[in-house]
Structure formats: structure tokens, C-alpha cells
């Protein structure tokens, strides 16, 4: 396979390859341009932006907009900066991702290695939950959060995201474990390992790639969610995305674009970080089920 594609690459020739790389470079620049503009403008004093030149590098480099966005900018009525909401998001994302991943892995294990009557139906229903549009569940969810007395809290948001995330997490792990040799489970059974021992000692240690995929997927989705955050936790418990919106909308006097840019980058930073740290495992994990060896 790789030999064949190398042959192809060689036969395309120098001109063709230059063309391919140029095109790729062009698109990369195109996609990076917005980020570049955000970055340079977040490092300028406001005057330079309103002065008109958005593309130019800052004449006066400053990190004041970043400090302002983080700790002093007006969010709604309070001048708190994004800081408390950033921690809100962390307190929401981390438990939700951990709980979803654990339950998803356990579900995948049971659905592939401890099959029971009707297991495909159960899995089908879980899959179905992945495709229910968010808007449909807003009202029933609000009602349930009310009954549980956790509406408007981070705990409530964790619950919402766990409910939504389990479907995908289960899908990932089930497909991954389906390719995991059942003979290993049988060998472990004969060796005397119990249900959880087989899970912890045999399956989990081999689940690195799919766990990375699952965590990245859940982390980005939950971190970037706006609808649930705005609907169920708009006050002090609001997540970062909602706070960013409030930051941009609540500037009464002049619009501090440089602060807005800095805030937007702050809001995107954790997902960016997750991709950079774990991203190279991402593709590997996605491929793991389909290509053996």
C-alpha cells in the first residue's frame, strides 16, 4: 500500500508535487488567517484597531487585553473577567468527561463480551440518543433538573452532558472492543479473573487509543457547548462559552475588540491544548478498529 503510493508520488513529478504543496500551503494559510487576526489584535491597544488596520502587527505590543479579559472585564453586570467562568467550565467538563468515558467503556465491555438477550436493541437505543437534536430535550431536561433541584448549577450541566455523552462513548468503546479477541476474555475467565478484574487488568490497559479519541471528542463537545450552558446555567454557574457571549454583548461604552479577541482565544485554548497534546493519538485511535496489526 505505502509502496504503491510512493510510486505514484514519484511519477507525479516535481512540478506536480510543487503544485500540490503550494495548494496545501494556501489552504493552511487561509484557515490560519482568522486565528492570526485574533492573535495580533488581542496584543494591540484598542486605538490601533479602531485606527483601521486589522492585519498589521501591533506597533505597541501589550498583554493588557489578555489580563483584562481574564480578570477585570465586565461580564454581564460584574467586572469579574472570564476567570470564574473558566473554572466553571473546568468543573463541568472534567467530571462529565470522566464519568462518560468510564460508563462508555463499561457499556462497550458488556455489550461485546457479556452479551445478553436484547443487547443489540439496547445498543441501538443508545446510538439513537446520539442523534436526538439538542433543542428537543431542552424542556423535559429543564423539568428534570428542577425536580432534582440542580437547575442553574454546574452539577446540573454535568448531568446533561453525561446523558448526552454516554451514547457516543458507548459507540466508540463497543466498536473498539468488538475487535478485541474474545479468547483473551475466556483465558482470563479460566485464570479466575472476575468481571471487573478482566475489565481493569485485560481490556482497559489495551484501550489507550480509543480512550484518547473518546476524551477528545467529549472534551471539545462539552467545552464548546453553548445551548445547554445558556439554557440551564446562565448566572454565576455559566460556562466559559456563555460568559464569552456576555463579555462581547455587555460592553456598554466602547467595544473593546482587543479584549474580545483575547477572551475568544482564552475560551478556545483548552480544546486547542487537548488536540496538540493528544491529537496524534486521535487518528491512530480512529483507525484502530478497522486496520489490524
Amino acid at each position: 500500500m505505502s509502496v504503491a503510493s510512493q510510486d505514484n508520488a514519484a511519477s507525479v513529478g516535481r512540478v506536480g508535487r510543487t503544485f500540490v504543496y503550494l495548494t496545501l500551503l494556501l489552504f493552511a494559510l487561509f484557515y490560519l488567517l482568522p486565528f492570526f487576526i485574533m492573535l495580533v489584535n488581542s496584543l494591540k491597544p484598542l486605538g490601533e484597531i479602531t485606527g483601521g488596520n486589522m492585519i498589521a502587527l501591533p506597533q505597541d505590543w501589550t498583554i493588557a487585553p489578555w489580563l483584562s479579559a481574564w480578570s477585570t472585564a465586565q461580564i454581564g453586570v460584574e467586572p469579574t473577567g472570564l476567570k470564574p467562568y473558566f473554572w466553571n467550565s473546568i468543573r463541568m467538563v472534567v467530571p462529565a468527561v470522566v464519568i462518560c468515558t468510564m460508563i462508555g467503556a463499561l457499556n462497550g465491555y458488556v455489550l461485546t463480551k457479556w452479551r445478553f438477550r436484547g443487547d443489540t436493541i439496547v445498543f441501538g437505543l443508545m446510538l439513537f440518543s446520539c442523534f436526538i437534536p439538542f433543542q428537543i430535550v431542552l424542556i423535559p431536561m429543564a423539568r428534570i433538573l428542577g425536580i432534582l433541584e440542580i437547575s442553574g448549577t454546574t452539577a446540573g450541566l454535568v448531568l446533561v452532558h453525561v446523558v448526552y455523552g454516554i451514547g457516543f462513548a458507548t459507540l466508540y468503546y463497543r466498536n473498539y472492543y468488538a475487535a478485541f479477541p474474545t479468547e483473551l476474555v475466556r483465558a482470563a475467565q479460566i485464570d479466575g479473573a472476575g468481571f471487573f478484574q478482566i475489565f481493569y487488568r485485560i481490556l482497559l490497559p489495551s484501550s489507550g487509543p480509543i480512550t484518547v479519541v473518546c476524551v477528545i471528542w467529549l472534551f471539545t463537545n462539552i467545552w464548546n457547548d453553548f445551548l445547554f450552558g445558556a439554557s440551564f446555567a446562565s448566572g454565576d454557574a455559566a460556562p466559559m462559552t456563555v460568559a464569552l457571549n456576555n463579555l462581547v454583548n455587555s460592553s456598554t461604552g466602547v467595544r473593546e475588540y482587543n479584549v474580545h479577541f483575547a477572551g475568544a482565544i482564552l475560551a478556545a485554548l483548552p480544546t486547542l491544548l487537548v488536540y496538540i497534546v493528544a491529537g496524534r493519538f486521535f487518528v491512530r485511535g480512529l483507525m484502530a478498529g478497522s486496520v489490524k496489526g
Partner: protein, 370 residues
């Protein structure tokens, strides 16, 4: 009551019965081989002994203890899988001692058991490696080590050699046999390779389509197959089976067959009760090595018959020369000496050892017993 008793065991998946009333008693120290073509239910039966598959009806007991419903880890059995099923995340040493750890054996004892098994199998130098860093033969040894370390009542093997190349397979086969001779542990071994079955076993159960076709020692299976399936499945090349008619000549039953020229030839049976079949059709079974050149014929046999026939193809294989000819309308293989003088297309006087010939009822395909 044997050591391992399989009494009237059946297995169904839904409405499909894949094993029908299997009845096998295994004595302590026996090496029982389950052999048969793909899909005949060998693995299913083995998994039922291991407790990995439920028993639909009947009873399996080990050492007089009924095992139905007993968890696999509580049966004191060990199993070697076709894919070896080594835990990929654990070192070789951990793989071998995992079962002991799960059974709560103290660490010092585990270390000692590991040492013993590792030196027995000559894998001392591999203990820190991961299974992914081993060759096929080494993995095979580790898998056996994992089974040995438990000191089980019964070893179960599911086609343990089928992933190895031809040469290594022969070596490991010898090694398994040696191991069994030293340890004398009871073994149930699944294979679809009839040579493995013949060389390793003390007894063989030939299975087909969910039925045990015949249970017996390798010699019984080879010399007196119960039916045409067993006769043709065991042995390589397969037993020659051809239609024949029983004819009485001077009061003795003979097999009347048409030779390569379309003429009738007769071969005197060594089996007297075939007189009851006089004038009727039978299926005559003769193993290739029972058709030879006269110099190589079995001197102990009381019934060597001469057969003049035209040689079809000769295939020298080094140790022997295989000769194909037409007999009874079928292609028949004879096993001759390596330096035999036969030449393709010529007539040759073959010697047929009729003491080794078997007759089958053409309707039921069962052997007509003496």
C-alpha cells in the same frame, strides 16, 4: 466412571442442535484427541468441558464432580487457545502467573512456579518481554507455560499448533507428546489434522456433523474404521473406497471389481462372514499401503492377493512412490517402495493385503463387522 466423563451431552444454539448426545469417558492420564472437519463441533465440546459454553442437556464431570454450571476457574482445568490468547499488556512472566495471582497464590510460590515452568519450557530468557515481541513458536511455549503452571486436572488444547509453520508444528508436536509422557496429566486436544491426532493420542474421537463417529485407539481407528467417513478422513493419502460385488468362489467370499481394462478381477477376502453378502454390492476399502509391489508385501499377512492392473501415474515422494490407477471405476492410490520398477502405462502385478481390507454397507456406509 472415568476421570473426565462426558455423558449424553448435547448442545443447541436456539433451535439448531450442533452436538448430539456425545458420550466419552476419559481415563486419568489419557491423551484424547477430538478430530474432525471444520464446523463439526470440536471447539464447542471443548468449551463445554472448560465451562465457557453452557451445556444444553447431559452431564460433564471431572473426578466424579459434576461440572454443569461450575465456573471455568473452579474446574481446575487449563486451556491453550488457537490464537494463544496471551494478554498483550503483560510481560511473559505476568502472563504465566496471572492465573495463580487470581487464585490468591502467595508471591513467593508464584515466583517459584514460574521458575520451574520457565526452565521446563526453556523460556527463562523471555520472561520480561511482551507477547508482541515473541515469535510464533515462543508464544506457543508461553501459552503452554500458562497452562502448566496451574498444575490442572485436565489440559484442554484447541488447535494449538495450527498457527505455526509446517516444520515448527512437527517439532512442537513432539514436544507436547514428551511433555505428556513426563507429566501424565489428562489431555483433551482438538485438531482437524489427522496426523496430529494419530501421533499424539492415546485415544481418538472422530467427529462429524455433531456426532462422534468413532471413539478408539489410533490403531482401532486406522485399521477398523466404523464407517466410510472415518476411513477416508483418517490417513494420508486417504483410504481407497470402491464399489465391489461379493462373489463366492470355492466357498470363500471374494470381491469382484472391474480393473483398468474393464475386466472383472476377484480378490479373496480374509473376512469370512462376508459370505452373507454373496451376490450383493458392498464398498471395498483398502489403504494405499496395503497395495504394494510383491517384494514389499507384509510377510505376516495370511492373505496377499495378486492384482494385475495398468499403472496410471507414478509420483515418487522420496520415501515412497505413489502409484495411481483405475480400479472399480475409481482412481486408486497404491504406496510402493521408493525404488520400485513400475512405469506409467504398463501392466504391473500388485500385491494386495486383503487382511487389511474393510467392507462397508453401501446403504448405511457402516463397516460390515466380522
Amino acid at each position: 466412571m472415568g476421570f473426565l466423563d462426558i455423558n449424553n451431552v448435547t448442545k443447541s444454539y436456539g433451535a439448531v442442535e450442533v452436538l448430539h448426545k456425545v458420550d466419552i469417558n476419559v481415563e486419568e492420564g489419557e491423551f484424547l484427541v477430538l478430530v474432525g472437519p471444520s464446523g463439526c463441533g470440536k471447539s464447542t465440546l471443548l468449551n463445554m468441558i472448560a465451562g465457557l459454553e453452557g451445556i444444553t442437556s447431559g452431564e460433564i464431570s471431572i473426578k466424579d464432580r459434576v461440572m454443569n454450571g461450575v465456573h471455568p476457574s473452579k474446574r481446575n482445568i487449563a486451556m491453550v487457545f488457537q490464537s494463544y490468547a496471551l494478554y498483550p499488556n503483560m510481560s511473559v512472566g505476568k502472563n504465566i502467573t496471572f492465573g495463580l495471582e487470581m487464585h490468591g497464590t502467595p508471591k513467593e510460590e508464584r515466583e517459584k512456579a514460574l521458575k520451574d515452568v520457565a526452565s521446563l519450557l526453556q523460556i527463562d530468557h523471555l520472561l520480561d518481554r511482551k507477547p508482541g515481541q515473541l515469535s510464533g513458536g515462543q508464544r506457543q511455549r508461553v501459552a503452554m507455560g500458562r497452562a502448566l503452571v496451574r498444575d490442572p486436572d485436565v489440559f484442554l488444547f484447541d488447535e494449538p499448533l495450527s498457527n505455526l509453520d509446517a516444520k515448527l508444528r512437527v517439532d512442537m508436536r513432539t514436544e507436547i507428546k514428551k511433555l505428556h509422557q513426563n507429566l501424565k496429566t489428562t489431555v483433551v486436544y482438538v485438531t482437524h489434522d489427522q496426523i496430529e491426532a494419530m501421533t499424539l493420542s492415546t485415544r481418538i474421537a472422530v467427529m462429524y456433523d455433531g456426532y462422534v463417529q468413532q471413539l478408539g485407539t489410533p490403531k482401532e481407528i486406522y485399521d477398523t474404521p466404523e464407517n466410510v467417513f472415518v476411513a477416508t478422513f483418517m490417513g494420508s493419502p486417504a483410504m481407497n473406497v470402491m464399489p465391489a460385488t461379493v462373489e463366492m468362489i470355492e466357498g470363500a467370499p471374494h470381491a469382484k471389481i472391474s480393473d483398468s481394462e474393464g475386466n472383472h478381477v476377484t480378490l479373496a477376502f480374509a473376512q469370512d462372514n462376508l459370505a452373507d453378502w454373496a451376490g450383493k454390492e458392498i464398498l471395498l476399502g483398502i489403504r494405499p499401503e496395503a497395495i504394494t509391489d510383491p517384494e514389499a508385501a507384509d510377510r505376516d499377512s495370511n492373505r496377499i492377493e495378486k492384482l494385475a492392473n495398468r499403472v496410471g501415474v507414478t509420483e515418487p515422494s522420496g520415501a515412497d512412490t505413489f502409484v495411481t490407477m483405475t480400479l472399480g471405476g475409481k482412481d486408486i492410490i497404491a504406496r510402493m517402495r521408493a525404488d520400485t520398477t513400475v512405469a506409467a502405462g504398463e501392466m504391473f502385478d500388485f500385491a494386495v493385503n486383503m487382511e487389511k481390507a474393510v467392507a462397508f454397507d453401501p446403504k448405511t456406509e457402516a463397516r460390515i463387522k466380522p
